[in-house]
Every structure is written in structure tokens, then in C-alpha cells.
Symmetry: C2
Subunit: 302 residues, 2 copies
């Protein structure tokens, strides 16, 4: 029987969605639970959570006792991603009123509640990966929390957003643009792979290095494709306003390199990601999902 990404993804997406529903308490005080759920549930491609689960499987950690750690890490990274979107959409940042076809959190619940919901989602992410019930070992909890904190903070996502904020209208070099994206979106994607890899314990350095190179290449490819789609896709397919980067005079790979070179660069990064997996020495039967997710990132149309 041929291995198919869809067969692999479907049950895992359901598992992640059910876990998120279970772990985001709708009874959180004063409407905060509703705002948090609205921000997280029923939307998004869940690429980050799939990367966690695929990386855990690659090192042999999914389906064992560490499956619980992987599912928790998969949900935690989605909470961080979701909180960043909530704050990013706020009037003082991108001032977006629609996301995934729905009013953004601050439009639906007010700015103050959106601010708090984002803050609470970040804390909840760390809560999920540090369960006091012994279901995740202390070394795995510590490793997951350390990876997530570094990827979310000033050396990662928040730092990248600060660069983005300061870069609108500026002519960035390719190196500067890569640095911005490496932090802004790349850090969380890389972190997803690394979190999955540590769920079964500390993998060999060679494996961790190879998976990290995979995660870095994939993270960059994701952004290059994002920039390409902004000029090649229409808004309906994209699910968000196409041509927005150009209109906002935001630096993009397409603006910097031109469309065809950007497409070529995305292909190169895809090849780098696959090469890193081959170098990991992990059995090809265990890295199927990671390979297929790299393909998906390159071939996606939204």
C-alpha cells in the first residue's frame, strides 16, 4: 500500500484539534476562554503541530509513552502561533480585521480582551508542556520549555516581528531579509521539528543537527513561498488579501530577487531540506511524513 500524506495527516489533525478543545478551558474567567478558543480553534493549516508529530515519529517517539509529550508540544506550538496572530492583527500592529474569513479577535472581543487572550495563550503553551501529572518526564518538559521559550522570544519570533516592524519601507539586503524571516516565522517552524525530536528524550547530536537543518530550510522555504503566493495567487485561494505585501511596501523575496529566481530559490531550499533528512541517518520509513510536509510547503497554493 502506498504511503499517502493525507492518510497520515487526517487522524493527527483530528487528534490535535480535540486536544486543543480539551485544553483550552471555555470556563476561563470573564470571557477569556471564549476569546482564546476563537483565536485557536477551527482554523489554520496546523503545519507546526504536524511538524512536531512528524519529527517525533522520525526519531521513533510517536505512538509510545512520549506520544503524550508530542501531542502536548504540537498543541503548545499552535498556541504560540495563534497568540502571535492575535497580537499581530491588533490596530497598533497590522490592524487586520479579517483572518481566515472571520473577524479578528480584537474585532470580535475588543482590543483589551485580545491582548489578554494572546498573553494567556502564550502562558498556556508552557502549561501544556509542563503537566504536573508525570505524563511527560522532567527532562523532556525542561527541554520542550527551553526550546519553546527561545523560539518565541527576542531571539526568535518576537525579535523577528520587531525587525519586521522596523523594516517597512526600507530596502533590506537579502541577508537582512533572511535574518528577519529566520526569526519571525523560521524560529517556530524549526522549533516544531526540534520539539518533536526531543519528545522521546535527547536524540543523538547527528540526528538533532540534521533535523535542525531540515527545519531551517523548511522555515525559509515556507516564507519564500509565502512571498511568491502573495503575487501569484488570488485572494480567494489565499484566504487573505493577495498583493498585500507589495501594497504595504514590505520587503519580500519576490521584490528583492524577482519572481522566477524566488521560485528557483524555493526549490533549492526544498532540496536542502530533503538532503538534511537523508543525512540524519534515520530510516526512510520513519521520515516519510517529514519529507511529505516539505513537499506540501513547496507545493501549497494557500
Amino acid at each position: 500500500m502506498v504511503w499517502a500524506l493525507a492518510d497520515w495527516m487526517t487522524p493527527r489533525l483530528q487528534q490535535v484539534e480535540q486536544a486543543l478543545i480539551q485544553w483550552i478551558d471555555p470556563q476561563a474567567p470573564a470571557g477569556l476562554g471564549q476569546a482564546m478558543r476563537y483565536a485557536v480553534l477551527d482554523g489554520g493549516k496546523r503545519l507546526r503541530s504536524l511538524l512536531v508529530l512528524a519529527a517525533a515519529q522520525a526519531v521513533g517517539g510517536e505512538g509510545t509513552a512520549s506520544g503524550s509529550a508530542a501531542l502536548r508540544a504540537a498543541c503548545a506550538i499552535e498556541l504560540i502561533h495563534a497568540y502571535s496572530l492575535v497580537h499581530d492583527d491588533m490596530p497598533c500592529m497590522d490592524n487586520d480585521v479579517l483572518r481566515r474569513g472571520k473577524p479578528t479577535v480584537h474585532v470580535q472581543f475588543g482590543e483589551a480582551q485580545a491582548l489578554l487572550a494572546g498573553d494567556a495563550l502564550q502562558a498556556l503553551a508552557f502549561e501544556l508542556i509542563t503537566p504536573p501529572d508525570g505524563s511527560v518526564s522532567a527532562p523532556v518538559q525542561a527541554a520542550l520549555a527551553g526550546l519553546l521559550a527561545r523560539a518565541a522570544g527576542y531571539q526568535g519570533m518576537a525579535g523577528g516581528q520587531a525587525i519586521d516592524l522596523a523594516s517597512v519601507g526600507l530596502a533590506l539586503t537579502e541577508a537582512q531579509l533572511r535574518q528577519m524571516h529566520r526569526l519571525k516565522t523560521g524560529a517556530l517552524l524549526l522549533c516544531s521539528v526540534q520539539m518533536g525530536a526531543v519528545c522521546a528524550g535527547q536524540p543523538e547530536a547527528r540526528v538533532m543537527d540534521a533535523l535542525s537543518r531540515y527545519g531551517e530550510a523548511l522555515g525559509l522555504a515556507f516564507q519564500v513561498v509565502d512571498d511568491i503566493l502573495d503575487v501569484t495567487a488570488d485572494s480567494a485561494t489565499l484566504g487573505k488579501t493577495a498583493g498585500k505585501d507589495e501594497a504595504a511596501d514590505k520587503p519580500t523575496y519576490v521584490a528583492l530577487m524577482g519572481l522566477a529566481p524566488a521560485q528557483h530559490y524555493a526549490q533549492q531550499l526544498h532540496a536542502q531540506a530533503l538532503a538534511a533528512l537523508a543525512e540524519s541517518g534515520l530510516p526512510v520509513t520513519q521520515t516519510q511524513a517529514l519529507r511529505a510536509l516539505a513537499d506540501m510547503v513547496i507545493h501549497r497554493n494557500n
Copy 2:
């Protein structure tokens, strides 16, 4: 020689301040480091960090290998507190332009940078307590991260702020008011004590329970005294606008109980905190700092 709180505090305050300076990277991208430092350094009474260090000392953990964990936890809790103030001051929340006599972060750096600085400070707090260098054991890292996440999130500080937001102008019962403060300010103060206590490893349940009761009573006392000072102190002594709660029609203990009963209640809570320490079974020579901090909370005039 008589033990004096000032002698105990002075070197520890310096240590915390130096560690914060060391750990908040001024080179964080695009001005984020400056905004984070501005939000955290050179201000605040550092009550939370002192509680961490005092609790660590109470269980015998300060001055040993776990001293490193206690200092990290002490700084982490200050970062969470600082981030909450940055976000709380923003126009969509309390819209405060001054804090500790200086322009608030969003006034100084803009709203977007304030939002990001707060977000990055929360992540940095978790980073500090999960060092990859082995200086803090994995079980202590996991315990600290779990405590901090729960205290900062929807079951703690963020939840309390959501209740606060929803309560302005409403007539709360004393139980509702207590619940709001238990989350909004109490959770972090309790967490400070608990984090200190776990720095040397998992203390006995009896000790942890007693220290938690101390932390809860102290947290509530802190808020009651806050409400009292809002009506009894002048703005210069307070370092912030006096009478603000009343003007904003915010529910307070003084509004609910009257001034004298609120003062009496604060005394009761102080006695409860000291009783809990006595019940902990810890040597009185080790709990001196915790006792003195409880006195300070009750007798403070700002």
C-alpha cells in the same frame, strides 16, 4: 547581632538587578532590547523576587547549588510582572502614561513595540528558568516552568485581569473581589514563594502547603493594603495617582468594607501568613526573611 531585613535585602536586590541587566540583552533586534530593559530595570520594589529568594532560603536552598535556580526564578517572576504592567498600561487597557515617574513603555517606544516587548518578556521569563547549561536540574526547571505558566495564565494573572476588565463599575461581592485579586496579583505572589521553595528540589508536602498558605495570605494582604493606600496616601508617597481606584469606580476592599474593617482584615491576613510559617516546621532562623517581608507588605506606605 540583630537580624535586619535591610541587611538581608540590600545585597539580594543588587544581585537581582545585576542579573536582570545581564539577562536582558540590549542587542535584541530592532530596539526590542531597549524597550525590554526600560520596562524592567531601575524600578519596582522587587517584592516578588525577594519572596523567591526568601522562600528558597527558608527551605535551605539559597547559597547552595540551587542558588542559581533561585536567582533565575527571582528574575523570571519580575519579567512576568513587568510584562503585565507594560500591557496593562497600554491604551486599550488602563491607558496609563506614567509609571514610577517615567513615561510608560508605549509612550516611550510606541504601542507596537510595547506589545512586542511585553510578549518577549514573557518568553524570556521561561527562558531564564530553562538554561541549557545544566546549571539548573531538569526536575527543577520543569517544576519552575509549570508553576510560572499556571500563575501567569488564565488560571492566574491573565484570568484576573480579564475579571478586572469585566468588573469596572459592577458591584462585586467580597467573594468575587477576593477571587479577582487572588488571580490578578495573588497568583504571582504565591508563585514566587512556591518557585523559591522548589529551587532546592521538591520540598515535603507539609512544608509546601504551609508556604503556599503563607503566599496566599500575603498576596491577599498586599492587595488589601494597596486598596487602603489608594485612599490614605498622597500621590507623591505612592508614586502613582492616589484615589485612582475610586475615581475609576473600581471595586476595592475599602469601597466594599470601609476603611477600618479593611485595615483590620489586613492585620488578620498578616497574622495568617505568620501562623502558616510557624506551621511549616521550618527552623525560625530560616524563615526570618519571609516573616520580615510579610511585615513589610503590611507596613509599607507605597
